[in-house]
Amino acid sequence: MDLPFLYETFLSLVAAVPLTLQLAASAIGLGAFLALGLALCRLSGILPLDWFARAYIFAFRGTPLLVQIFLIYYGLGQFREVRHSMFWVVLRDPYWCAVIALMLNTAAYSAEIIRGGLLSVPFGQIEAARACGMSRFMTFRRIALPLAIRQALPGYSNEMISMVKATSLASIITIMEVTGVAAKLISETYRAIEVFVVAGAIYLAINFILTRLVALAEYQLSPHLRQPAALPSTSTGAAR
């Protein structure tokens, strides 16, 4: 076991962790809004919106993420109109292309998760909100969405983990996040196993912390499912 080499590898890989986290966080954060929009399109009952969302989800779930990244990073540059438009500042930057591709991809998967969550809200809750005189928007904001988020959280945490793993594909379009640095180290030193072990441990640690955070959020969001804290005991209190 070559500990100094492992330590050095660890140091250079850890330096790339912020970039990996940044990619994952921006993709998940932006993707969540898009996913909510798509889920609402699916549930709107308006046919054109419904079909648009269906087609989007079908296309993005049916093709490899790497193809989507290439399509955005290399493909769009083919058109003179794109190269001369104001979007070119964003689209020629590999970082933003990776964020856009990851965001569009995760939105397709998350939309179905969120749709499932929204469908799982019992109608009685909506009915009760209406009976209280809440408007449609307020019912959605105060009742349907929070309950849906609680329901969708376990499925959504899977999607978040696969997004953290998917950020590794950004290394193929020259972004030096953890996998990018690892690939560079492997091709420089040809010590694939050592580098792999260190990089793998870093990803595992990130994903472990992520699952713990989601579990914490789940706990916070479901006070109604917990055993109530033991009431001040009533049997012994009878002495009063």
Partner: protein, 239 residues
């Protein structure tokens, strides 16, 4: 200059890449099938270890599924490709070969995809085994079936029935993962599109074609999986 249209590109004419793309599509399917098959074998043994192993085998299987589901597939492909090349070079040196020997990309890709999908299939098979009613196994024992007969006639078909939907999910993941094998230089669909994009200067057209072919493969294989699910559940009474 007259730019070829998408139809020219997928045709077999002078500007056509049709044959090359067809060969690459077959390569993609082959990688996916090989990876899926390796994963299925690993999955069966992994599930066996988790279900009926002692604490050592259970620990190993648990470690394997946790690790392989928690790290990116691309990293595993790099490990097999570069690690395999290093190992082959070292072995080659023992036999007096000189210089660097590359590990075959197809083998590295199929193994890497197989080992990552094996972790997922372990969980699929374990869940499917748990879904088999113990009454069915008891009935088989009561009929006097031996252990191997019980496995072959009762346990394996019933587990497979419950496993098919999950295996379908894994297959779709494997198919998309096969695109990552392009980093090893195997000329599968994505690599062929990169080559085409590079030599014609039409990356958008080529990646759209690749995306359409991936969609077609996943749609067709999804339909086949649904058919097989129907066949394997034909003995289930509904409603």
């Amino acid at each position: 200059m007259n730019q070829p249209t998408i139809l020219d590109l997928i045709g077999t004419g002078p500007n056509g890449w049709g044959m090359a793309l067809a060969a690459a599509t077959i390569m993609t399917v082959l990688i996916a099938i090989a990876g899926f098959a390796i994963g299925a074998v690993i999955g069966v043994f992994g599930a066996w270890a988790k279900v009926s192993g002692g604490w050592v085998t259970r620990g190993i299987a648990g470690f394997y599924t946790t690790v392989l589901r928690g790290i990116p597939d691309l990293l595993v492909i790099y490990l097999f490709y570069f690690g395999g090349s290093a190992a082959v070079t070292a072995i080659g040196r023992l036999f007096g070969a000189e210089g660097f020997i590359g590990f075959p990309g197809f083998l590295a890709g199929a193994l890497a995809v197989g080992i990552t999908s094996g972790a997922q299939q372990t969980e699929v098979f374990r869940g499917a085994y748990r879904a088999v009613h113990s009454g069915e196994l008891e009935a088989a024992i009561a009929c006097g079936m031996s252990r191997s007969l019980r496995f072959r006639r009762i346990l394996a078909p019933l587990t497979l029935r419950h496993a098919i939907p999950g295996m379908g999910n894994v297959w779709q993941v494997v198919l998309k993962e096969s695109a990552l094998v392009s980093v090893t230089g195997v000329v599968e669909l994505l690599r062929q599109s990169q080559i085409g994009a590079g030599s014609t200067g039409l990356p958008f057209d080529f990646y759209v074609i690749a995306a359409a072919i991936y969609l077609a493969i996943s749609t067709v294989s999804g339909g086949l999986l649904q058919l097989s699910e129907k066949r394997f559940t034909r003995g289930v009474r509904r409603g």
